[in-house]
């Protein structure tokens, strides 16, 4: 099977003052359609940077990123914007909902930006799958952390992205909400075949996926099956 995402010798340098600091040092990974991959590693090892680069939010310094056959490193800023719009769904640790909009409009906004118009059936299905049907008129400030993350999840998948990129999605949640969100991610993966890459600090969270990538100092040090 062709990988949905593939990186080749990916480097990312950050310039701090006169120093060039490498955040990624030759990352080569490959993710198949329908996989649920967790990325673990100590703080500062480059996990978020990797996620930003493969999601087209940041540009790599060298190497290649192939997402659904498109080379992100060759693309203009505008082209990467289009790619994010149509193929990537992000979920962040801090939920990052728009505080002025209620649940309904936070999700609908993603559909609006996506540009295929409002699809009531898709909306209905996603809202009920994530248990948000009763929460559509609530603003983020009126929702619990777990609920906010479910809204963020709904927003990420509403436009049927090729890949969901989640950066410590349970990092701000209590155990119970974490379990709910992780269970939902697994359900999305199993039932809808949604490809997911999730960063986590929590080894238990990593077991929800099929496979774990360990990172250290900007490199992937080994891949392993999640359950071994």
């Amino acid at each position: 099977m062709e990988p949905i995402l593939k990186t080749e010798n990916l480097w990312k340098m950050y310039r701090t003052g006169r120093m060039e600091v490498p955040a990624l040092r030759g990352v080569s990974i490959s993710i198949l359609p329908g996989e649920f991959v967790s990325i673990m590693g100590p703080s500062g090892c480059g996990k978020s940077t990797l996620l930003h680069v493969i999601g087209g939010l940041a540009q790599a310094t060298s190497g290649r990123v192939l997402l659904d056959g498109n080379d992100l490193t060759e693309m203009s800023d505008a082209a990467r914007t289009l790619l994010r719009r149509h193929k990537v769904g992000f979920v962040f640790q801090r939920f990052n909902l728009l505080p002025t909009l209620d649940t309904y409009h936070n999700i609908a906004l993603a559909q609006h930006i996506h540009g295929n118009g409002f699809d009531p059936h898709r909306f209905e299905a996603v809202a009920s799958l994530l248990g948000l049907s009763e929460r559509l008129r609530h603003k983020p400030s009126e929702l619990s952390g777990g609920e906010q993350q479910r809204v963020a999840l709904a927003r990420a998948i509403i436009s049927e992205p090729k890949i969901v990129l989640a950066d410590e999605p349970t990092g701000n949640l209590d155990t119970k909400s974490s379990e709910t969100v992780l269970a939902l991610l697994r359900q999305l993966n199993k039932d809808l075949g949604q490809t997911i890459v999730m960063i986590t600090h929590n080894p238990e969270a990593a077991t929800y996926g099929d496979r774990v990538l360990h990172m250290r100092d900007g490199m992937v040090v080994n891949g392993s099956a999640a359950h071994s």
């Binding site: 939010l57 914007t81 289009l82 994010r84 505080p99 002025t100 909009l101 609006h112 930006i113 996506h114």
Partner: protein, 366 residues
């Protein structure tokens, strides 16, 4: 969707929204009032001058079209020469004084007989014509505004006048005294500021004007037929500049306030802009959101400003009842357009800045 979002954004920061809307409203009010007051004063004065009923107006060389502001009186004897011209039927010399205490009033010093022969005479609402040197005639608008009755004393031009009569408005000024009295008061003996001329037939106006020009080469000779159309700020260079400066100040206020408002907004919403970008929102989309929000704020400001203008006019008319303030649809529209364009210009840089934000940095913004 964008509509809903920008409404929610404006509601989210009510104080910011309120201040921006009020600033734009003040801008609009300033434009409407400055234009309304100057054009109101001009057209009011023009209408009354035309209402004298004369065919031609003669003023000293290089006199301003805005009669009340130009002194330099002419010898009254000129009137006799004018009277002898072929097409001239009647000549009325008038000495004009400008009273600026408690409002802006023009006072005409007239000779009752000559003024009647040119204008056809006053329509008296109450009292009598001018007879005594202390008499003053007041028009009905002025009388109503200042609650003046016949027999009362009116202190004007540092002089106590006896209100002899109340006349129908529209004959050049709102206040009339005997020319001799005004000459004495202003030390302008045997002088007049303007001669009003009545021709023997109104289709002889052009011919009569030519006669007058021949007699008085450098004098300002103005047929009164198109007088109102001449009395615009563009014919008064100083006034036009004043209006432009005031409009410029108003626009600067609107520009700076929307700039600051939208600038602080995009800083405050840095992370939200990052979120929009992560969702795949283009630069155009982000610019569109910010400019739409600006348009909404400015539009609310324009509506408020128009309301505020009418309110200001009501209040001003309570204090200065005879003040003519001309609020026209054209200038409501223009002031609104100026405010919205100025606001959009002010929001351009913030919008550009927002659209260029780096998504990763924006998402990390606290």
């Amino acid at each position: 969707m964008i509509g809903h979002m920008i409404v929610q954004n404006t509601l989210h920061r009510p104080v910011r929204t309120f201040i921006t809307v009020i600033a734009v409203a003040v801008e609009v009010t300033l434009v409407i009032m400055v234009v309304g007051l100057t054009s109101g004063l001009l057209s009011d004065s023009a209408k009354r001058t035309e209402g004298v009923g004369a065919d031609i107006m003669v003023q000293p060389p290089s006199a301003s079209i805005f009669m009340a502001f130009s002194g330099a009186p002419m010898p009254i004897a000129i009137g006799d020469k004018l009277q002898q011209l072929e097409y001239v039927q009647a000549v009325a010399p008038v000495l004009v004084q400008f009273n600026s205490v408690n409002g802006l009033d023009i006072v005409y010093g007239i000779q009752p007989e000559t003024f009647r022969s040119v204008s056809g005479g006053f329509v008296l609402h109450d009292g009598t014509e001018l007879r005594d040197s202390n008499d003053i005639l007041v028009d009905d608008v002025y009388a109503r505004a200042k609650k003046i009755k016949v027999g009362r004393t009116l202190h004007i031009l540092e002089h106590d006048f006896h209100v002899a009569g109340i006349v129908e408005h529209g004959k050049g000024a709102r206040l009339f005294v005997l020319m001799s009295t005004l000459q004495e008061m202003s030390g302008a003996h045997d002088k007049a500021s303007v001669f009003f001329i009545k021709c023997d037939r109104s289709d002889h106006t052009a011919a009569a004007a030519d006669e007058v020009r021949e007699l008085l080469p450098h004098y300002e000779v103005r047929p009164l037929k198109d007088y109102i159309s001449l009395m615009t700020s563009s014919n008064l260079p100083g006034l036009g500049a004043f209006i432009n400066v005031m409009i410029g100040i108003a626009v600067a206020i609107g520009f700076l306030v929307t700039f600051l408002s939208m600038y602080t907004t995009i800083i405050e919403r840095t992370r939200e802009i990052g979120v929009l970008k992560s969702l795949g929102a283009s630069k155009t989309y982000i610019v569109e959101i910010i400019l739409s929000e600006t348009t909404l704020l400015c539009f609310a400001g324009v509506v408020t400003g128009v309301g505020l203008s009418y309110l200001t006019r009501i209040i001003l008319l309570k204090v200065f009842p005879s003040l003519p303030i001309l609020i026209t649809v054209k200038w409501i529209f223009l002031a609104g357009l100026i405010a919205i364009l100025g606001g959009l210009l002010g929001a351009t840089y913030p919008a550009w800045l927002a659209s260029r934000k780096d998504p990763v940095e924006a998402l990390a913004y606290e």
